[in-house]
C-alpha cells in the first residue's frame, strides 16, 4: 500500500513539475474565476426575490445557491473526466507505452495522473469561493468544513467509478466520454445545479430522486451553506457510499477487462 501511495505521489510530482513550466494559466484562471463569481452575483441580483429565497431548499440567497451548484458541477466534471483525459494525453503524447513497461500498473498510472488535476480543481474552487466571499458576500462563515470534506470524498468515490468506466470506453473505442455526457447532461436538468428539483414536472422529479448527483448536491449545499454536520447529512452520505460500493468495484472489473481486450486486439496505444 505504501508503494502504491508513493507511486501515486510520483505522478503528482511529475504534473506539478510540468505545471511549473507554464506560468500564466493559474493567474488567468484566477482572473476568470473572479469574472465567473461576478457573473453569478449579478445574475442572482437580477432574479433574486423573497419568493425565490422561500423556494430554495438551502442557501440564504440565490447567489450562494447557484455558485455552490456551479462549483460542485466543476468538481463532478473532474471526477468524470480526469481518468479518461489522463489516458488520452498519455496515449497521444506517446508516453503510455513507456509507462506500461514500468513497475507501475495502469490503474495506479490513472489514479496518479488524476491526482494533480483534482488538486487543481480544488484550488480553482477555493479561488472561486474566495473571490465570492471577499467581493460578493458569499456566506463562507456558515460552512461546516469537515462535513464539506466528507461530502466531497463521498462524491469522488461515487462518481470516479464512472470516470474509470469512461477510461475503459476510451481504451476500447478510442474517443468519447459517454459517462460524462450522460451524467452531466442529465444532471444539469435533474441534479439541482441552478434551480431546485421541486420546480420540475413530476416525472423529472422522479428521475432526480434516482440520480445520485441530486443527493450529493443537497449534501454539499447543506454542509457549505447551512453548516450541517456529518450526522445530519447521514442519509445522502450513505446513499453516495452505497452507490460507490456498487459502481467502483464494477468499474475496476470492466476496466481490467477492457485493458486485457486491447492487449488481445493490439489497440492499446492506438488513437
Amino acid at each position: 500500500m505504501r508503494r502504491i501511495l508513493l507511486d501515486i505521489f510520483l505522478f503528482f510530482q511529475r504534473d506539478l513539475r510540468i505545471a511549473g513550466t507554464y506560468r500564466s494559466p493559474f493567474i488567468l484562471e484566477a482572473v476568470e474565476a473572479l469574472f465567473g463569481a461576478a457573473m453569478f452575483y449579478y445574475v442572482a441580483r437580477f432574479v433574486d426575490s423573497p419568493a425565490l429565497r422561500e423556494a430554495l431548499p438551502q442557501g440564504k440567497t440565490y447567489f450562494a445557491y447557484s455558485l455552490a451548484g456551479f462549483v460542485f458541477f466543476d468538481y463532478l466534471n473532474e471526477a468524470l473526466d480526469t481518468f479518461d483525459r489522463s489516458l488520452l494525453e498519455a496515449r497521444d503524447a506517446g508516453t503510455l507505452e513507456a509507462l506500461l513497461v514500468t513497475q507501475v500498473s495502469l490503474p495506479v498510472i490513472l489514479i496518479g495522473s488524476a491526482f494533480y488535476p483534482f488538486a487543481g480543481t480544488m484550488l480553482r474552487i477555493a479561488v472561486y469561493l474566495g473571490w465570492a466571499a471577499g467581493f460578493f458576500n458569499f456566506p463562507l462563515g456558515a460552512a461546516n468544513w469537515p462535513a464539506v470534506f466528507v461530502v466531497l470524498v463521498a462524491t469522488l468515490l461515487a462518481f470516479s467509478g464512472f470516470g474509470v468506466l469512461s477510461a475503459a470506453y476510451l481504451l476500447l473505442f478510442k474517443r468519447g466520454n459517454p459517462a460524462k455526457w450522460f451524467i452531466l447532461g442529465a444532471s444539469s436538468v435533474t441534479g439541482g445545479m441552478l434551480f431546485p428539483v421541486s420546480i420540475l414536472p413530476p416525472w423529472l422529479q422522479m428521475v432526480a430522486h434516482l440520480n445520485p448527483v441530486t443527493y450529493a448536491m443537497d449534501a454539499l449545499r447543506g454542509a457549505l451553506l447551512n453548516g450541517q454536520g456529518i450526522l445530519s447529512l447521514g442519509r445522502p452520505l450513505l446513499l453516495l457510499l452505497a452507490f460507490a460500493a456498487v459502481i467502483l468495484p464494477s468499474s475496476v472489473v470492466i476496466f481490467s477487462w477492457a485493458l486485457r481486450r486491447t492487449k488481445v486486439t493490439g489497440t492499446l496505444t492506438h488513437r
Binding site: T21, L172, G266
Partner: protein
C-alpha cells in the same frame, strides 16, 4: 548451464481486422482473423544477442511487444527470465528494458534528466542509483550537455538516445530493442552499436533481442539471427551458418533467398 533468457513455445498472435464507420463499435469484440505470428519457437540464451530480421509486417514488433507485456499472445507461451509474460507480467517488466524505436514517450516540458529520473522512480530505483546511472550513460553517449534541456528542445535522434538510456537505466537482464538506431545519425548509430557489442554484451550478463533492417548492425551485434516472414520463423542461426546454408556471400542475400524475395543491386529486396 543457466536457463535461457527467453523461451518462445509455439507462439501465435492473431489480430482482428480493422473496422471503420459504425462497425468500429464491434472492433473490441471481433474475432482475430489476421495472423501476425505463426507458431514461433525459439530460445535466446543468457548473454546472447539475437536479431529479428524480416520485411515490414513480418511480426518483429509484435513479438517484441508480447515480450514487453504490451500484447497478449493468442496461443503458445513466452517466458522471459523464467516468467510467463501473461501470468507474471509484473515480474517480466522488472527484467526488461524496452525501447519502441520511436522518439516519443518523453514529457516535452521536462528535461532529459527529469524524464529519466521519473521513469527510474517508476521502476522503483533509488534516486541516487538513477542519478548515477543517468550521469554515466549520458556521459557515455555524449548527452551531458543536453541533459538539462527540456525534451521539446531536443532533436528526435537525441530523444531516441535518451529513450535507449531509459531502457538501460535499471540494468535489465533482457533488452528488447525495436530498430534501436532508426533515428540516429551514422556516428551515433555506430557508437551505440559499439556500446552494445563491446561494453554491454561483452559482460554476458544481459541478453538482447532486437529488430533491425540494418544488415551491418545485425552482422556486428547478433550472435544469431531469427528470420521472420509473414509471421513464420524461416530460419534461426548464426549469420555465418545462414550464409553457408543459402550459399550466399552476404546476410542480405541469405535473407532474400530464404524469404523468396528478389534482391536488387541497390540492396532493396521485393517479393518475387
Amino acid at each position: 548451464m543457466s536457463d535461457p533468457a527467453i523461451i518462445l513455445d509455439s507462439l501465435e498472435k492473431w489480430f482482428p481486422p480493422a473496422l471503420s464507420g459504425w462497425r468500429a463499435f464491434l472492433q473490441p469484440f471481433t474475432p482475430p482473423t489476421t495472423p501476425a505470428l505463426r507458431g514461433i519457437t525459439l530460445e535466446v540464451k543468457q548473454g546472447e544477442a539475437v536479431a529479428l530480421l524480416g520485411a515490414n509486417g513480418a511480426g518483429k514488433t509484435t513479438l517484441l511487444r508480447i515480450l514487453a507485456t504490451l500484447l497478449l499472445p493468442t496461443r503458445g507461451s513466452a517466458l522471459l527470465a523464467g516468467h510467463d509474460t501473461v501470468r507474471e507480467s509484473a515480474a517480466v517488466r522488472q527484467q526488461i528494458g524496452y525501447h519502441a524505436g520511436s522518439d516519443l514517450g518523453f514529457y516535452s516540458r521536462l528535461t532529459g534528466r527529469q524524464n529519466l529520473l521519473f521513469f527510474g522512480r517508476l521502476n522503483h530505483l533509488s534516486d541516487e542509483f538513477s542519478a548515477s546511472r543517468i550521469q554515466t550513460l549520458s556521459e557515455r553517449f555524449g548527452l551531458l550537455g543536453v541533459l538539462d534541456r527540456q525534451a521539446r528542445a531536443l532533436s528526435s535522434g537525441t530523444i531516441q538516445r535518451f529513450s535507449l538510456i531509459r531502457a538501460l537505466l535499471h540494468q535489465p537482464k533482457v533488452l528488447l530493442l525495436d530498430e534501436p538506431t532508426r533515428s540516429l545519425d551514422a556516428i551515433a548509430a555506430a557508437d551505440f552499436r559499439h556500446f552494445l557489442k563491446m561494453e554491454m554484451l561483452a559482460q554476458k550478463e544481459t541478453s538482447l533481442l532486437f529488430a533491425s533492417h540494418t544488415m551491418q548492425e545485425i552482422e556486428l551485434i547478433a550472435d544469431r539471427v531469427a528470420i521472420l516472414d509473414e509471421g513464420k520463423l524461416l530460419a534461426f542461426d548464426t549469420p555465418n551458418a545462414l550464409r553457408a546454408r543459402t550459399l550466399s556471400s552476404t546476410l542480405e542475400e541469405a535473407f532474400a533467398r530464404l524469404t523468396g524475395r528478389k534482391l536488387y543491386s541497390g540492396g532493396e529486396s521485393t517479393p518475387e
